[in-house]
């Protein structure tokens, strides 16, 4: 069984500052993939960033980057230069080779002007 834990139910950050969202996971698979999804108040879930577990290099997508610590089973998301449009629920998710996603409980991020 796979589990994903997000220990921060809510976070806030000032506009233009940096924030880090935490995620830990557990899986018995050797081949797996990690994702961060964003769900704005309109509820359409969109992919923010993904990481293949076999890759040591941390993924980066513009202002979004991850800190993947495989031994610690940790996968945190860093948002730099936070913008008001970053306000959303953020979900960490884990999939195996069969693409079955297991989601964490989510972190509600509020970006304040």
């Amino acid at each position: 069984a796979q589990t994903v834990t997000q220990s921060q139910p809510e976070m806030s950050v000032q506009e233009a500052e940096t924030v880090t969202l935490s995620c830990t996971y557990d899986t018995s698979e050797s081949n797996y993939y990690l994702f961060w999804y964003k769900q704005p108040p309109s509820r359409q879930m969109i992919l923010v960033i993904r990481q293949e577990a076999y890759k040591q290099q941390n993924a980066t997508e513009n202002r979004f980057s991850v800190n993947f610590q495989k031994a610690a089973k940790s996968f945190s998301l860093k948002i730099s230069d936070s913008q008001l449009g970053d306000t959303a629920m953020y979900f960490c998710a884990l999939s195996n080779a069969g693409n079955m996603l297991t989601f964490g409980g989510g972190t509600r991020l509020m970006v304040k002007p």
Binding site: V4, N31, Y33, Y37, S42, R43, Q44, M45, I46, L47, R50, E52, F91, A93, S95, A97, G98, N99, M100, L101, T102, F103, G104, G105, G106
Partner: protein
Amino acid sequence: EAGVAQSPRYKIIEKRQSVAFWCNPISGHATLYWYQQILGQGPKLLIQFQNNGVVDDSQLPKDRFSAERLKGVDSTLKIQPAKLEDSAVYLCASSVGLPGADTQYFGPGTRLTVL
């Protein structure tokens, strides 16, 4: 490119009634997923289709939930009879169908309220 379409967007029913949701995936996507997202929680996978075959339905409450994907394109999810605890947003997602880091694209969801 059109995204994943779902209808209806909202549905209110009484317990013990039946309800059906419809999903049209992105054109060419072989894999289709249905998730249940209870308020304040992350989505939970109910069923995964590859073309018109079921890959995994281990978390689908089969005594009341059913899903089909005839012709490997559109899909419907049905609940019969509904219970209060079925109140949730039902999300449909689709992906190309490649093994591994296959990006799932989500629809807007159907918010179901069971009274």
